[in-house]
Symmetry: C2
Subunit: 196 residues, 2 copies
Amino acid sequence: MAGKKQFDVDTALDAAMIQFWRAGYADTSVDDLSRATGLNRSSIYSSLGDKDTLFLRCLDRYAARYGEKYDAALSCAASEPLAAVRAFFDVTLGRIADPGLPDGCLIAQSVMAIPVLSPAVAAQARKALGFQRLRLRAALKAGRMADQDAEAFAVHAAAVNQSLAVMSRAGASPAQLLTVVDVAVDALAQALPARD
Amino acid sequence: MAGKKQFDVDTALDAAMIQFWRAGYADTSVDDLSRATGLNRSSIYSSLGDKDTLFLRCLDRYAARYGEKYDAALSCAASEPLAAVRAFFDVTLGRIADPGLPDGCLIAQSVMAIPVLSPAVAAQARKALGFQRLRLRAALKAGRMADQDAEAFAVHAAAVNQSLAVMSRAGASPAQLLTVVDVAVDALAQALPARD
DNA sequence: CCCATCTTGAACTGGCCGGTTCAAGATGTG
DNA sequence: CACATCTTGAACCGGCCAGTTCAAGATGGG
């Protein structure tokens, strides 16, 4: 297995991302990454970069992949704010329900570890987290919701979304998480007409 | 400094708790704990136990201290569910606003790290997290709210409360966190009459 | 005054950490 | 076949890790 061909970098990045996602930055060693990707230590350094660089790439990858899904869900129901929020939550619930993926959320988890992360990684995590709220706000405004309402709703929905990561990490059942979403959407539905 | 007297164990436990709270279990070494408490390595082992035991004690300490505050806040406004929920959030906001304490929440942070914690610690973290919801539910039921409404409200408020930990960890301003709470309480207020 | 008691600092162990280097071998090309 | 290219495995480095042990010293009680 040498000469001119290579392993699949994308597959390796996915494996590394899942490892970081499951165990966090601090509790993932280069050896863990080697085992997770099936790559040699040397290959990781030569092809994926050092631990910090690799984590940053995984964070970007995670943000890009699920960011697209959130965008797609929000835009499909852009004209109906409640449906958009529901679709937004469904992306999260779907990801959590996937048995092939770790619980929680790589971004929320990284944010919780900010005091012990490198400045570059911390900044990226903060940025990724903030982007969720901006996505929501943009979608709600696109649904012709008033600016300040869109901001308030986005803040609230983003908050509930983050709590799903915490609760799933604690082993909450899909039914419990669905309850959280239902109550949140219900509360927003009740608040919506009162604000119009 | 020897003979028959001792250092203050409570003070040392507080210092250890804050260290774990700031940096997390994985990123806290016994040396860090030694520095944080001002105690010698030997003294930590002889007086506070090994790292796992000490972390468990800190988790208990955290849960007991803030659990009492949540209970007190909830019971002061037991007859008025919305006021109780508001008082509940105020405890969290107050803790976050305290410059002498780390951001976030030790329990939420520990829950996020469950996959890499020892089973005993993981179970304790899960238990402590679940207790928040039970507190809220009990208080709401004491305020004569219907059982299923109390459960739904408790789930929702606990979720928002967890998200405050994530957001404060990301460096959110007190004003932003207050917005999250305001929107949540507002949404619950809108939903409340509709459910009566 | 003297001794039992407790703390303290330091050293040490065995192991894993992140990171780097290098020779050996597999591979496809000419 | 011969060669250049890339991967691979393994070893090594300095450092930090958790955990343990022990002699020296400070203290208070008798």
